[in-house]
């Protein structure tokens, strides 16, 4: 029998798992309570319209992000593109721009920029970096001597590309484009700002306009089903990622015709993704704002930092406990905890928020409209992010260190305190920072669950944009862009290291 994990870890992990399962559990419970009404909602023309809109946006954004992202990655990593180092960073930079800030930028510069095409453009600009980063990493670490072997066996460039290069990057391309689909599906702020009605907006409007809980719940359940389908596909595809042989030896870059033209194209794309929103933020910031709004900005900043730091600490502690249990004490219990946590990953923020609104209002009025409910939403939404960041450093600690520590007279808890935690602390701090910064940008759950009178940067930006107070909104967007830039910058250093180490 493998050793049992310490009770304190089990407690933390179980608690975190329960929190992750609460939103979907409660939503399904509500659904089963009012099944007849829900069925009626499902077949309304309105639901069908939302389904069409959502499918259209998800498919088109995923396709364009995949095409552009793969092409960017190939140009940057494999060809003699001029200013490669600049473009390596520029292509990832839109990650620093929260989607709804980007949407604010476009709308505020181009009045009437509403509907499908604007939503498609902004979502493509926002999500392409996910494909670009994943494919660039796989291109940089793949063994491309196979390309040269294929050339020597008489295949021309095009056939090498389709028969050798594509199979190597396909897992990364598939997984990342499915992530883009998930992201687009659960996007709230940007599509709301650009006034294109997808499921998330449908849920919000149904909830807001009539407080018609059943309509909102019905749309939310359709959204969850849609999400689960994509999530399942994503997990399926993930199994094949990361089996790349490390490449060895030097390899040449492919000389392409018209490389300056391609560089120009990349420059324009980066300009649309980052330049336009930044220009808008700067332009409106110069117009200035009222002193009352400056005070509110300051209050929102304090609230944002308070919420995100608190959530960061809680989430990271939970994630650490789960990572330790799942990686060090493999068991069915550990596996089921991990799977449950990933369910949170599947749920769009608006769904989690809606479910917790019901739960708070009906079951736990004591925490309704308090920071506690907001924290629960953050845990459900961002625990998987923290777990992804923490798994790696934890998995790198050999389990035998625990055994050695035990044999030297230390209890499991002492081993945890004296060995595991000190070794893993840099990884934990990095995960804490990333989660905190991600929480700062959260919009839909905060919007629905925050205590009355409290605003974060994101919710205040949203309210001001909605009312077309662009000059007042710009400083919020600027702050969010700067805060969002930090994790993007961290991620970028990582990718640059990978690319540099292998070229």
């Amino acid at each position: 029998m493998r050793q049992k994990p310490p009770a304190v870890l089990v407690l933390l992990a179980v608690f975190a798992t329960l929190i992750s399962l609460v939103p979907i559990g409660y939503l399904l419970f509500r659904g089963s309570q009012a099944a007849d009404q829900l069925l009626a909602e499902f077949v309304r023309p309105r639901t069908f319209e939302l389904l069409t809109n959502t499918t259209l946006l998800v498919v088109s954004v995923t396709a364009s992000a995949l095409l552009i992202g793969v092409f960017q990655a190939w140009l940057v990593v494999r060809t003699n593109l001029p200013f490669r180092n600049f473009f390596a960073v520029a292509a990832a930079l839109p990650l620093a721009m929260p989607s709804y800030v980007s949407a604010f930028g476009w709308v505020s510069l181009f009045p009437g920029f509403y509907g499908f095409w604007p939503s498609w453009l902004v979502m493509t600009l926002t999500t392409t970096p996910y494909v670009y980063l994943a494919v660039a990493a796989s291109l940089a670490s793949g063994n491309f001597q196979a390309e040269e072997v294929a050339r020597s066996l008489g295949k021309n460039r095009k056939r090498v590309l389709s028969e050798v290069t594509w199979p190597i990057i396909r897992p990364a391309a598939t997984a990342s484009s499915l992530l883009v689909a998930l992201y687009t599906l659960s996007e709230f702020g940007a599509v709301a700002t650009l006034r294109f009605e997808t499921f998330t907006i449908g849920v919000y409007n149904a909830y807001r306009s009539s407080f018609d809980r059943n309509a909102a719940a019905a749309i939310a359940i359709v959204l969850v089903v849609f999400t689960l389908v994509i999530l399942f596909a994503e997990r399926k595809s993930r199994g094949r990622v990361g089996n790349l042989e490390p490449h060895s030896g030097r390899r040449g870059r492919i000389n392409i015709q018209g490389r300056f033209g391609f560089a120009g194209g990349l420059f324009v794309f980066a300009g649309l993704g980052i330049g336009v929103p930044v220009a808008a933020l700067i332009r409106w910031s110069f117009i200035g704002t009222s002193s009352a709004e400056v005070q509110r900005l300051f209050d929102a900043l304090i609230a944002t930092i308070g919420y995100s730091v608190a959530a960061g600490v809680i989430i990271t502690a939970f994630a650490l406990a789960i990572a330790l249990i799942t990686l060090r004490y493999r068991s069915t219990f550990a596996r089921s905890i991990e799977t449950s946590v990933w369910v949170g990953h599947a749920l769009p923020g608006i769904v989690v928020a809606l479910s917790l609104v019901f739960l708070g209002a009906n079951v736990f009025p004591a925490i309704y409209q308090t920071a506690w409910l907001v924290m629960i939403a953050y845990v459900a939404l961002f625990l998987p992010n923290a777990l992804a960041g923490i798994r790696n450093p934890v998995s790198q600690i050999p389990i035998v260190l625990d055994d050695v520590g035990r044999s030297l007279g230390q209890t499991k808890i002492q081993v945890l305190r004296k060995i595991t935690l000190p070794i893993v602390s840099p990884g934990v701090m990095a995960a804490l920072a990333l989660v905190t910064l991600t929480v700062m940008k959260e919009l839909p759950a905060t919007l629905l669950l925050r205590p009355t009178g409290v605003d974060t940067l994101a919710t205040r930006l949203w309210a001001l944009t909605d009312a077309s107070f662009y000059a007042a909104a710009a400083p919020y967007g600027l702050l969010l862009f700067l805060l969002g830039g930090i994790p993007a910058w961290l991620l970028n250093r990582q990718i640059r290291k990978t690319i540099d180490a292998t070229t």
Binding site: R406, S407, L408, G409
Partner: protein
């Protein structure tokens, strides 16, 4: 005095019986090597002793106190059994001296200094593990395990991650350090040379049981059965029959080392170095193969009825095609079919 006693230990993993009624005793101050090929349950034995794996049957006594049985277990941290894992596994966030001091009172600098000296690591006391060579790391790991003056120290293939040259040097160092510190140690290894050269006694392990225990010389020259004989080194196995107290084989009549029953049929095991090849133009055996190793050579010899392997002094080995008479030096072990030698 009995330090460790294992009686009838058994352990299953699912359907598989990994330890199958294993018995072993170790005396105070002894260094015992458990020798076996991979998959015979050595690691499970180590883990059961250390307290990381529970046992399904039998008892483990340390200093005549029960520490583990089917229903009872002293937790790993309370056993006073430390171990040196396959890879040094130093705590990466602690210096060499902090690693060594991990299991003892922080202020016991005297013991740390003593161990640094014993393992010749004084100059490296404040280094971080990442700045040490593989051999240095393994010495720190040993010092760390010895520091709390454990009742027993376990070594789990402690040299297998090192390159061969370093391994030989370290074997001596480790043995000397353990002996100088007066520790009782159990080492598991799959390396015959390692076990024979380091241990006071060797226990040959086979599929969950100890097949034979004895001092290295005894184990090597008087293996309990044909299996142990071939596991410990090259052996030529020949059929034989006992007649008039001698063993009649295709290589002539041989003297038995052990007690034999008149008329019994069985096999003898002869080490290649126990053959002597005498060049003889009239002989009916011929050298048919020769592999030269420098200090010695392995020859293949075709006798009228058998093909055998013989070790010979390298530079003076007979050449291929040379007729030789095959002599067997000294006496041989006879293994009667269906019985093993006590």
């Amino acid at each position: 005095m009995k330090k460790l006693e294992l009686t009838n230990i058994s352990k299953h993993f699912g359907e598989e019986l990994v330890l199958d009624g294993l018995n072993l005793e170790i005396s105070e101050g002894e260094l015992v090597a458990v020798l076996g090929s991979s998959g015979v349950g050595k690691s499970t034995l180590i883990r059961a002793l250390a307290g990381f794996e529970s046992i399904d049957g039998g008892e483990i006594y340390l200093d005549e106190q029960l520490i583990a049985s089917k229903d009872f277990e002293v937790p790993a941290e309370k056993r006073g059994i430390t171990f040196v894992p396959q890879t040094a596994s130093l705590f990466p966030h602690l210096t060499v001296s902090e690693n060594i001091a991990f299991g003892i009172d922080k202020h016991d600098t005297e013991r740390v200094t003593e161990l640094l000296k014993l393992t010749q690591l004084e100059a490296l006391a404040d280094r971080m593990p990442e700045n040490l060579s593989g051999g240095q790391q393994q010495r720190v790991s040993l010092a760390r395990a010895l520091a709390p003056k454990p009742k027993l120290i376990l070594l789990d293939e402690p040299f297998s991650a090192l390159d061969p040259e370093l391994r030989e040097q370290l074997r001596n160092d480790v043995r000397n350090v353990i002996k100088a510190d007066g520790a009782t140690a159990l080492m598991v290894t799959h390396d015959q040379e390692e076990a024979l050269s380091m241990a006071d006694r060797v226990a040959v392990m086979r599929l969950g049981v100890i097949a034979q225990v004895g001092d290295p010389m005894e184990i090597y020259s008087a293996p309990a059965d044909v299996g142990v004989a071939t596991f410990l080194g090259d052996s030529v196995i020949i059929a034989g029959r006992v007649e008039n107290g001698k063993i009649v084989t295709d290589l002539g009549k041989l003297n038995a080392l052990n007690n034999v029953t008149e008329g019994s049929i069985g096999r003898v095991a002869i080490r290649p170095e126990n053959f002597y090849l005498q060049p003889n133009p009239k002989a009916e055996s011929f050298v048919v193969g020769r592999t030269f190793f420098g200090h010695d050579a392995l020859l293949e010899v075709q006798t009228p009825k058998l093909r055998i392997k013989a070790r010979s002094n390298g530079p003076f080995a007979p050449e291929i095609g040379m007729p030789v008479t095959v002599w067997v030096r000294g006496s041989v072990n006879f293994y009667a079919d269906g019985a093993s030698v006590s």
